[in-house]
Symmetry: C2
Subunit: 231 residues, 2 copies
């Protein structure tokens, strides 16, 4: 169906952002190579389940799951160190939250670039959002522009990989609305940083997700322990 | 002895280039945090031994060894895939050799940047050489400049990490001569891509090393199976 130069590596965490990215990449005409990273987050298994179910839903056969051990070893953040308590969401907070994993998107894009060059893929889709990114420096437009230049200079002359950030200026409300338009299976996605059975409803990621569904006027199909103030 | 802002992450493969980088970083006044990566190369164990012995030699206590599993999984190259034969050296060759691991230095620098930001280190030393780099695109000056910009934009505002490539314009001859000046323990280093007991003398890495010692007029202290034409 597709040309081999229409292959795209899509970063699929299993969350709603990357699920929408997948739908957009397919709409853009790409065959998908799905890349999932375990980086020692609390909800690793649940996210992997969401990844597999999303791949099945979209009939994706090219899959790669990578254990990014060093982000576990390097630790420091509440996402990777179970000794640090996950902070309760504060969406007005300006400083960088403790769930920050240093230079995470640099590591993620490097892995994606290695795989993309091997596969001769033409693009990397990543569902970063600078508005709702809790101030992570590696979610900003200028970081992706800089990394694009690093890939251009650090790969073979004949390699031509474009980083595509289709939802970088979206809010979570936009994600929900656009996902609804493209029939994204939100019931298969997972966002909670804290739990694996029922979403906690209070961590940053749950709060952002619930606020997005709330503002879109659509009900989140996931089960929650309790509704947070943002739902 | 040193200020905490004088900490440097040094990438230490266990080869002579990174051993010289360590000596230069110490001379520059840095306390060293030594980072070693296993990326599925044939001689992984021997390189780790060299890393440990070099750390002991330089009294380095901060050490991190990371298994970069994805470069094994992604495979493709002769360094990581035992089904591809290691090419015999051809130092006049212009095209990129099969030992190329796609975007390897992008991955390496991302890991180093994550650790450096966690440690609040001020620098990353990497022993890349663009002259003797067999045409790897991610060993060139312009790649490191681009990646510096990616680190600047992708880390916290208060983080300030400099990529330092002290031997980027060195030849292997320069490495040997400067290493001799700084008393680098070349007998503890390992370069061969092929063997772990006696160096093969014929792979790219052995050939470059032997040519460097030959041009410097100094004998390589390592044991070889046979002397290549470059010794």
């Amino acid at each position: 169906m597709h040309d081999s130069d229409k292959l795209a590596v899509v970063l699929m965490s299993g969350g709603m952002d990357s699920a929408l990215c997948t739908a957009i990449a397919i709409q853009d005409g790409y065959e998908i190579a799905a890349l999932h990273l375990n980086y020692g987050q609390r909800t690793e298994k649940r996210e992997l389940q969401a990844f597999d179910e999303l791949c099945d839903f979209y009939f994706i056969k090219k899959k790669l799951v990578v254990n990014v051990e060093h982000l576990v070893l390097i630790g420091q953040s509440s996402l990777t160190d179970k000794n640090i308590e996950v902070e309760k969401a504060d969406l007005e907070r300006k400083e960088i939250p403790s769930s920050y994993v240093p230079f995470r998107n640099g590591n993620i894009l490097s892995i994606a670039a290695s795989w993309a060059e091997t596969l001769k893929a033409a693009a990397i889709y990543i569902g970063a959002m600078q508005l709702d990114s809790s101030g992570y420096p590696d979610c900003r437009r200028e970081f992706f522009d800089a990394f694009q230049n690093a890939i251009n200079t650090g790969t073979k002359p004949e390699t031509n990989i474009r980083i595509i950030t289709p939802i970088i200026n979206f809010t979570k409300k936009d994600i929900v609305l656009q996902g609804k338009n493209l029939n994204v299976p939100f019931h298969l996605t997972w966002s909670c940083y804290q739990n694996e059975d029922k979403a906690c409803g209070v961590c940053d990621s749950c709060a952002l997700r619930l606020r997005g569904f709330g503002e879109a006027g659509i009900e989140d199909p996931l089960p929650y322990i309790k509704n947070s103030e943002y739902s």
